[in-house]
Symmetry: D2
Subunit: 183 residues, 4 copies
């Protein structure tokens, strides 16, 4: 059986909902990085046992929050011994703006996976970008490197467009399937 | 008097409209890169005489089109003699998706300006990203490094949201003002 | 049997040598983009039949040359029908400087692969970055997203450090092995 | 008189030496982010009073360390009121590898400055990338967006090549001069 884990930080619950949706699609376990940027030793072990790891973070000030970066920095001990080499990776980010420098976060997640010697799974969905397209269609933000989601700055997670969640679920499924094929 | 030039490539007219709008805000001259990726010697001289240069291109397959890149590659003869050192630069991109890897294009435009020893002017506009925000508000895509615009894949330039054009005009004005201050 | 193709542009022969070295490691076919940015229909078909595609380009003015981008732009007809979806991808770049914005080229290659719905293979090699490290050791530039190589601005391909070529061969082998596992 | 501040995080002293060298060139004040990612209110005020802010951080796992990001995240309260709009910005990074994903850190620093509505000063130095070039020459890494420095993974700050420090000093001077012109 293929083991997939979504490891994420969520500041206000929006990214948590997306993480849960990705995890639903991937049949994945969830590891939430806490407010101090830490996860438990059992959670590190959970990541180690996973065939695929999906990184998730909101975009704050043009990048993943410090708590996610603290987790990334802590993974350097694994990097040094090539502990995650050849694992499957994916990533997602959420922020209040439609665009809003989300791509810089995705680039950093992809780079982190590459530092670990990973194999990166793209979103794999065509964009919904016609005149009649709505935010209730999958990939209406038009991502490609990973999953993009958006939640208005003054709204709760319940206002994340259904299309973004549909994309999230499909992306989780995709990462899990590719991980299964590689196993 | 401050001289600003907008140099751009447009495949189907959408990016031309944005270039014209940026130029209106900046009181700038326009240089259009042709379908073979060329500009005339007089246009190269126009760029040389400019205090500020604003790069514009659509995003195709995750980056500026080859015609724009041919122009960028041709600028290497100027790079070698530091001909554009300390000029003011800015940039914009347009594509069919709301997000759609536009940021990778902006990063490449900013890098090109940096290769030339330039000074880069950010967009300088807060995003419109509330639940009630519409695409008719300025910077509703939430850009920061440069100007972002979007035009649906099946629509003409007349369907570019008015907010994107408002942002474009304000960005042109901003680049010109900073160029004037630096002169 | 796994089919791997290295598709590249080389301006002066340095990138060709690296492409040949990657191809040797991968037991791959080679497709060279010509001076007009074109490849033949037979070469497009070759790419279509490949399990893995490795992109290669020098870094000029902070990005892949226009000829490579013309190839990338032309691949949009394949993008539209998801013709390369789930293929394995990798990439490499070469330039005269040790660093020299090579990463911006790698990011653009990775983004191109992602637009096509691809699966990206990182370099997977620890860096040689100790005080006693030399350019004759593998990955002494310290790449991670893809392969980095360097050739001084006034020297021929014979002056590319042996460590960069060793990395190139190992990366080709790695991409082919992962493609074989996924098949 | 022009006020320039270098704000940086240093894990082991290497980045501190580079920060001090940039500051020497810029006649700048220094603000060191502490091990918890914090600076004092007086230091925030120092940044507010500065005409130019230069960001500095090592590259860990493909990006600035979490302590620097915590500082960046905390600057969101200033972002919301456009407190740093139109300031001059620059940035630098150091890591053990010659290349080593340093560019991803520079992109994130440039993006942070852009989020604040800033004006970014590129390195402005041609690369030293000939066959006979040595690491004792200025900009022998070939940076352009900002300053790049390198210190082997097993060596102290005293082993940072003199060329990197020469570049650092010249970059500081350049940022200060452009800030003075804009004032």
């Amino acid at each position: 059986m293929t083991a997939v884990t979504v490891v994420y930080f969520s500041g206000y619950g929006h990214t948590r909902l997306i993480a849960e949706t990705v995890a639903e699609g991937a049949q994945a376990a969830l590891v939430e990085i806490d407010g101090q940027g830490d996860i438990t030793e059992a959670q590190w072990e959970q990541l180690q046992q996973s065939d695929a790891i999906i990184f998730g973070a909101p975009t704050y000030m043009g990048g993943a929050p410090w708590q996610f970066k603290k987790f990334a920095d802590a993974s350097s001990r694994i990097w040094a011994v090539r502990g995650w080499q050849d694992k499957i990776f994916g990533g997602f980010t959420n922020s209040a703006s439609l665009n809003g420098d989300k791509q810089v976060t995705l680039i950093s997640l992809q780079t982190l996976a590459s530092q670990h010697g990973g194999i990166w799974v793209s979103l794999g969905q065509l964009p919904a970008n016609k005149l009649a397209s709505t935010r209730e269609e999958a990939n209406s933000l038009g991502g490609s490197v990973g999953l993009l989601a958006q939640s208005p700055s003054d709204a709760g997670a319940d206002k994340i467009p259904s299309g973004d969640l549909e994309s999230a679920k499909a992306y989780g499924k995709r990462v899990a399937e590719i991980a299964a094929r590689l196993k």
